[in-house]
Point group: D3
Chain length 317, copies 6
């Protein structure tokens, strides 16, 4: 069973809208090696896990899988922010009935030259479950052979490929909003590389100098270096509410990344950053309420609130 | 940010393996109107939500979306249990090196006549992210127009279709494992119908006698009736760890289902049922460890555990 | 612009339900060489046609394309009839509220062993836009190169492949409902083969003894022979309401099928067979109305009918 | 059974080629909420319809479905016209053998920067069965649950989403060719919204102020306003050749769109606009006939025409 | 540049037709971890290879890739043989015009209960480019990150998963035709595991006891043991016509599979087994020639042969 | 069984990088009518071939299929060369540890405006198994009906469509690298058109003036003319190592292309052009080795080489 808290797992930096960067980030969300895939792959591996004696492996996978849901939330919102307001249409927030195209105006003209027109046409300047080339996410991506060694080997390769692609995305844009999330995910992917590499070490493998993959000067990327300096590549959170996770039996000892750190699984979760709600966008008919509907919402809310509070006392807000 | 607890959201009843029922349930997991889809649709709608004034709607969608992750966990595990052991191969649990096909035996012969051979060939008697006809789940299923009215209308239709399909699955099998989960989901889908219908009521719609959809004698299904008698169709949990959800501003008052109940959003989560881990299956090479690898795991665990406990004291298990 | 008449293009024979035959026929509806594909391919070729001087070719393609819409209607309904009632559930037609699964019964149990479980789970014992292996129809099937010679060559191959597959389906079942439609389409596919072969003859090709493809003893299939004896393989209707089609400039002269007939494009359309509506199926919650909703329909209809007839006179029924 | 007349359902305005606008319109043709989908969905719902007592609902769906085939024809041709001639290659119409690339010229160079290169490479400056992001249309889009209430609810949502997307496309371009078709479809989608909303009213729903969706100032779009002033959003044609449609039992009374109009189902079809044929495009090898082949066509046509007219008298042209 | 010799890479044993086994083998041909995928993945990795200094790695991948084309040929033909004649229709080989369905017979009735009806309906009792669940092979399977370490790691996982799935297929059937090919591929997949594991050893990894994956008693499968006894799991052929491959710089030394063998790359290719051609199948209209067409073939062949031999001398046969 | 030689089937001309041309060429590699498709279609037709008497047809298909593998290699490498170095990043070849993004640089920024961002993000400036619109290659493209006449007719259409699309690509770019390969494939596609047309002639068809398709002034394309002057459109190689092909019984006599040449099947293969290996690309982390890993490779190679040569004598290089 899962729970939510209204925090992002990491803070998203402010910068100008940048729809091209948004599209590149779609690979990290809905691509074959993106967060939707890691999330689903680990949730399936945890559900279908075999072997009670191997519970620490199951818990390691379950914990990383839970983290990936928060990564979906983080990168999806980052994409939305990069798209939000990019048409630079000046709607009238006091008049929720859209006037965007009145008189034959073309406030969404930008969409015709944009990387993925669906960001404006199907979604309302928001993230989509597709990759950077527009292909929808597919269940056929999920790998879960049931053979523990193979699942671990695949997961190691998966995290390394995710990290490789994010390093490439980093090299494509210097938008601060994009980079704050990409850099965080580069570092967390390395933590997950370490987790699966360490699990394979427990089965007898010695990785030598091979890790991390890719062999990058990631520490020379300023935003990445800051996070590495805080040791985020060597921590794994449990995200487990009752402390039943045994992942710490695996995620400990010297990092397989050859960086001299010790792996640490002692924290439940990182400190988050509060979630906020994006503004309305008139030119997208989003959310699409006119003054009458807005008044209805308010009236209904007031009415029912009064009734309920009369009966039961104040409602939590 | 998301958290996990090692409980199922509802208990899964015990019964014999039943791979045909397992395959029917795949529609409820990976089908176009299954739990992976509701989960992803609501997570995207929550991430891309517009309009700070409409926060109660966002919170309603976020809460249901969080619940759907637990539904994925529940129905996925139910499918795994229905498949587990169906080949009736008697492996030797004391000898982890598989002998399943030794001497030319065909312990997986059942797979050739099974609904989806991938349950034995690609997975190891476990759930897959596909529907009951074997089609992989697709990101193109996710609907998130950004127009609040349309998103709510779609969600109402989606939950009703999910409930319709589960009522049909109920009529396909009387396996108790399958039915315990299907019945629970029929009732929860109705709760979600109520949530979206109520949200549209707040925008001025009067549903008259239309709901619930389908118009079934669901209360005549014994397993469903038991849950309805407990009022589960009229509750919505927040799954919010800090109590910031305002979904209760919408989910309250008379149920749109015309059953005389009052909607109730006062609980954080239901009481769960402990998660257990499935046995190894030699004929699937799952988890695929031989005695030497097992010994390594144990040795490594003992060694590192000792070292760590020497330094930091006892590790939580 | 298109019009409809409430007639099937050919009569559908009565026989017992046969879901396996229904599934085989899905190839002829939603398969890569089925009627949805011919229909869409010809509608696109007609829309995108280039060369005013070549209007007779456009009209030939448009006319066959229009016929294919009626073929979709014919084979889709045939599939529905083959499925309809196959679970042999005896609902209570006087009580529209479904009791199908009451008391825990499993009236849809047949679906678990059926060729495509979606016929009972996603549809309500009705046709689906998929092929016989369950793959959804895809727009990537449509061929429209814009090069007239190539489009004609493809169309000849397409009709011949459609006819080949239908001859194979004929050999798979002797259900009379299935065969009445399959046999009709075998003969009409040959008419379309003749049309495209003749069009290529007008560009200089001499087909020698090659046609028809496949070289079958189709005339030895009793149901096919009856239609061939009526000359249906050598007729092409215009389905053009204003008689503007010039297809007859091509579809005339000796048949390329070497059967001694003359091609004839003089008729607008065949005589149809009245469309009827299938019964409700309680076990599918289809159409899903309860007594209250039915009463509402009737009351509303009566009320509004009266009002309108008071104003405008009797409404056509 | 279907018939065709060589008219567009609405006139297409003249303007310059505009391949970017053409690509945006592809969403309205081959997108998940485009005309191919509405057409196929309603044809399937009509074929699989259950409940003879509910014939007016079947007829309503059948009539709208028939109209959608004409919409496919309209928007497909509009896309073709927006693409036609966009490379600005000046072929020699008197010499049908293509000289387009002679001497190494690159007349199709525009394709490399175009929204969808397939418009020039796979098609010949013509419409494709894909959406604006290049995804092929899929049969998995079609929704037909067999439950009447759900099918109507889905159809209402579908038409509203189609209208929403077309309003967004309107805001992307001011090309007159594109806008004449988009504006017409915005208005017709509203008529279909009204149809399904009214059908649900007959089942007891009161929509209050919710409709139309989206809540737009569509009447402030000049091209849309002109059509609304003619009342096109409140008419539904039967497209039924024998007057057997009972759709008028539902489509009547006050419009659910709250615009003060009365719904009117008394007309069979609108007045159309004559279909014309596009010119040849040498640089695409379309239609790809050389002088010899052209001469053959003419000779064959003359010869056979003479023979046939000798035997049977003049052929209609 | 590639060449072909009319030999299978391994002999295919004779046994009865077995369409269920044929379908299971489709996973090994067109599945996500089947031979079409390994073939394409390695051909792309070889084409896109970077780093002249790393030529031995390129040559290793190129050589295995070339072998996989022969594996596609081997398993494809094995599937065809398992299907061939399964309907047990007794055609008249002396009369090539098909009489299969004459008089209304149903010789292909078996197809309705078969694992994949397309084996009889789309193909003519032959292999298809799909997996065992009927999904078409997809280019999205191909992994080629360009990062050598990751490509090698993926390839190791890929071969191990292929081997795992084939071990499972082995356990599904004891048909000798199926097993002769499956066993051969189990052993060759292990050779490829060794190749990629060894390449990673050269980058510093020590695999310990981890390999081979899966840890099976494969040597207890009689057909597999015979091939292992011949050392086929420790050989890699170059398939290079000019001896330019440097793969032997990697594929040598102790096997990473811990079986005490030395890797050997000294042979160009194994001894093959002559390819034969399958009989005609009248009930499939395959190859679909009637007596007149057959006579034409013969006459044409004789005539042209004479002419050519008059001019140039005898033609090689 | 297949063999390889380290030669391209044709030389690739040198020119500047051109990612837009690279993307257009993807249609010729991974498109529905590209080289991956012809290759797979012919390999399947050859594997599943029926009718020992028709061996010359099988051999014709097998020989062309083998050639197509070399075409995949040729066009894939051409695409890689067009992409290679297009970001114009000046890496330090003496320092294999990537510094590409150091200090926050964006050397891959070009990818955001590129036709297919995957060329830089998923691949490392290399070819992908997708078409020019980014759709992955699909097994559903492969046509193999088993009916010889239909398979030949389809193949003729397929080669002609491939040639049509390549003529269009020729008109899109004058990059010499792109054109050298496109022109070669235009001519070879015509040779294959001739092969299938001739095969159908042997079954009685007289093509008159129809061929070649498209009717182009291909001979007016300078690069194409040069190859036509060498007669490459009228040759078919066997690529058969033992001279067992009987394709020459069909591929002989007057060319169906009406160009006055005689078909010639007497050569085994063309003279190739040596394959070279592309440089490393630091900004892509390709191949991703750091100095330590490189040293390991060298040391391992030296060591093992010595050992082996001590035992067995010099190793071939």
């Amino acid at each position: 069973m899962y729970f939510h808290v209204q925090d992002f797992i990491n803070e998203i930096a402010q910068d100008e809208p940048d729809p091209a960067a948004a599209n590149a980030l779609q690979e990290g969300l809905g691509g074959q090696f993106g967060e939707m895939r890691t999330m689903m792959q680990y949730l399936f591996q945890a559900m279908n896990f075999r072997g009670p004696a191997a519970k620490p492996y199951r818990d390691l996978i379950q914990g990383i899988g839970t983290e990936e849901i928060s990564h979906v939330e983080l990168i999806g919102t980052t994409i939305s922010r990069l798209l939000d307001g990019s048409p630079q249409y000046q709607g009238k927030p006091t008049d929720p009935l859209d006037k965007a195209g009145a008189g034959g105006a073309i406030p969404l003209n930008i969409a015709l030259d944009h990387s993925n027109i669906h960001h404006y046409l199907v979604g309302a300047q928001g993230a989509l479950p597709v990759d950077a080339a527009g292909n929808p996410w597919s269940g056929s991506y999920v790998y879960n052979s049931g053979n523990l060694t193979l699942d671990l080997l695949y997961n190691l390769m998966l995290e390394s490929t995710g990290r490789l692609q994010k390093c490439r995305i980093y090299e494509m844009t210097d938008n601060k909003t994009a980079r704050s999330t990409i850099s965080y995910l580069i570092v967390r992917d390395q933590a997950h590389e370490n987790a699966y590499a360490k699990a394979l070490e427990s089965l007898g493998v010695d990785w030598g100098k091979l890790l991390p993959i890719p062999k990058t000067n990631a520490e020379a990327f300023p935003e990445v270096k800051e996070l590495v300096d805080r040791g985020l590549q060597s921590k794994q959170y449990s995200f487990d509410l009752r402390g039943q996770s045994e992942a710490g039996k695996i995620f400990r000892g010297a990092s397989p990344s050859n960086d001299g750190t010790e792996l640490d699984a002692s924290e439940q979760a990182p400190v988050g950053s509060p979630i906020t709600i994006a503004p309305e966008r008139m030119e997208e008919f989003a959310p699409g309420l006119d003054p009458e509907l807005l008044a209805l919402i308010q009236a209904t809310a007031d009415l029912e609130l009064n009734e309920i509070e009369n009966l039961y006392g104040p409602v939590a807000k």
